[in-house]
């Protein structure tokens, strides 16, 4: 019965739940879904991780390649994220070129990485202007149930922490590269940025929305933090939000960021 009600009057269905200060999946407005992280499952990739936020599942694989650094950034390497939303993650996507949502997600992840300076690109340089590491971070969403950017960031940071790059001996005069595959070093990751998504419905703000809640919402806010510093706020249009609500969201994101950092560190210890 409630299934039919949900399909026929989705807004009223959701409003009835919110009036009792609870959401359809039983959470309160400021509760987030459980997070699961697993590292190192894909051995063909140089670093890999799978992150689940509730049911949203994102797998991240990092492949490292050698390349020449750009002329304007001669002593920096590259970290290139790419978010893919294949049709198997949701019935909204068809096979074909990347959708707008995937491209926007890729740009958001790239911006968060740049702003948080979690990885010093200079440490990826092997020889200035000649040779540098290029890390391709490919994020594939396997199941889309809201909070895509949150899951992407967790998977990406966990995968980056698990990367072990071989030491390269480079002779510039002879252009000769020797890779020492036995001796591997981890990357120098200074902090773990994480993001939290909020959805606004009527005048209430809920944390960590599912895909049904995202579709019904009138505005979405994504906040990314590293340690106690804000590194990214994304509110693409939608209904307006008061400044008290926004500050409250930032507070709640800070608490969640600490929990996420703890989870990634624990998962990393299990790998060792």
């Amino acid at each position: 019965m409630s299934e039919q009600y949900k399909i026929l009057h989705p807004v009223k269905y959701y409003r009835d739940y919110l009036a009792h200060n609870i959401r359809p999946d039983g959470r309160e407005f400021d509760k987030y879904r459980p997070i699961v992280v697993n590292l190192g499952s894909i051995s063909t990739a140089d670093g890999s991780a799978i992150a689940k936020v509730g049911r949203t599942t994102v797998v991240c694989g990092i492949k490292a390649e050698l390349c020449q650094s750009k002329a304007e950034a001669a002593n920096e390497g590259f970290l290139i994220p790419n978010v893919e939303l294949p049709p198997l993650c949701s019935s909204k996507f068809r096979p074909g070129p990347p959708t707008e949502q995937a491209q926007v997600a890729t740009q958001l992840v790239a911006d968060i990485l740049k702003n948080s300076e979690c990885l010093d690109l200079k440490s990826l340089c092997i020889f200035p202007d000649k040779l540098a590491w290029c890390l391709f971070a490919d994020l594939i969403c396997l199941d889309l149930d809201g909070s895509l950017i949150d899951a992407c960031m967790i998977a990406l940071m966990a995968a980056l922490k698990s990367v072990r790059l071989p030491v390269i001996d480079y002779d510039p005069a002879l252009d000769n590269k020797q890779a020492n595959l036995e001796h591997r070093k981890p990357l120098n990751i200074t902090n773990i940025p994480s993001s939290t998504t909020f959805a606004k419905f009527d005048d209430k703000i809920v944390m960590d929305p599912t895909v049904d809640e995202e579709d019904l919402s009138t505005a979405l806010i994504t906040i990314a933090l590293r340690k106690n510093e804000l590194c990214f706020v994304h509110k693409p249009g939608g209904a307006s939000v008061t400044d008290e609500q926004l500050l409250k969201c930032i507070d709640e994101s800070q608490k969640r960021a600490i929990v996420i950092e703890g989870i990634v560190e624990t998962a990393l210890r299990s790998l060792q």
Binding site: T44, T57, G61, L88, C89, L142, D143
Partner: protein, 251 residues
């Protein structure tokens, strides 16, 4: 690469320690995702495959594709860029992927009772997370499980397996990536195991036609064994789902 490694050593062991007629370990799970109507995850050795099924639903895109007497089956095969040793530039759309998508569609169409869903479309999406040989057979097996999880009526399980010939004499089962590279012919067979019908057969390299019978027999036996494993997984999944909902008739 001048190491002369034999596919089958003198004491009858292969490169990864298996005997000639042993399958790699298969682990599978149905219903791993909530969005698709049916989904499955399958591991065969190190090869990891995800399959998702949407449907049957209305024909999307080109309406003229719809058939009045059968459902249209649409398969898409895609490899994650980090699934192979070298980073793959094009996850889909290159010739190999398109060929595998078409073969997948042909194999699955033979088993799905498409005549029950005229004017509809069934989508099957397969994603390879880790490639280590035997990709196509693993995709077929995963797609079969996903179809069963979606509740789409099948005539039979479709199981696929690879087989090869070692030392020009001994047939081997379930070829891994290392064994494919070293050389040696590979015969891929997709079959309906219970009725013994072959749905798709493909071969690379060459061997003498006298050996065909025994290599084919090996592959078909492999398909039958895989069908047992998949059947066990389906039964335990149904038990889990059924007992958690109390085997109840909900009205």
């Amino acid at each position: 690469m001048s190491k002369n490694r034999e596919l089958l050593s003198k004491i009858g062991l292969r490169l990864d320690g298996r005997r000639a007629d042993e399958l790699r370990r298969i682990r599978c799970k149905l219903g791993v995702f909530t969005e698709p109507d049916g989904s499955a995850y399958l591991e065969q050795g190190l090869t990891k495959i995800l399959a998702a099924v949407y449907g049957p639903h209305q024909v999307r895109g080109n309406r003229s594709k719809a058939q009045h007497d059968a459902a249209v089956v649409n398969c898409q095969f895609s490899m994650a860029v980090f699934s192979t040793g070298e980073r793959k530039r094009r996850p889909r759309g290159d010739r190999k992927s398109t060929e595998i998508s078409i073969h997948l569609r042909q194999a699955l169409t033979a088993a799905i009772k498409t005549e029950l869903y005229p004017w509809s479309q069934i989508d099957v999406y397969v994603e390879v997370l880790h490639a280590d040989g035997g990709i196509y057979p693993a995709c077929v097996n995963a797609a079969t499980l996903a179809l069963i999880d979606a509740g789409i009526p099948l005539k039979e399980y479709v199981c696929a397996c690879t087989a090869s010939l070692a030392n020009n004499d001994v047939p081997m089962l379930d070829i891994s990536h290392q064994e494919e590279i070293i050389g040696g012919p590979t015969l891929t067979v997709a079959a309906l195991p219970m009725s013994g019908k072959i749905v798709l057969m493909e071969m690379s390299q060459r061997f003498h036609v006298d050996h065909l019978q025994k290599v084919l027999e090996k592959a078909l036996q492999g398909c039958r064994d895989i069908k047992h494993i998949l059947d066990e997984a389906v039964k335990s999944h149904i038990q889990d789902v059924g007992s958690s909902t109390g085997w109840a008739n909900t009205t």
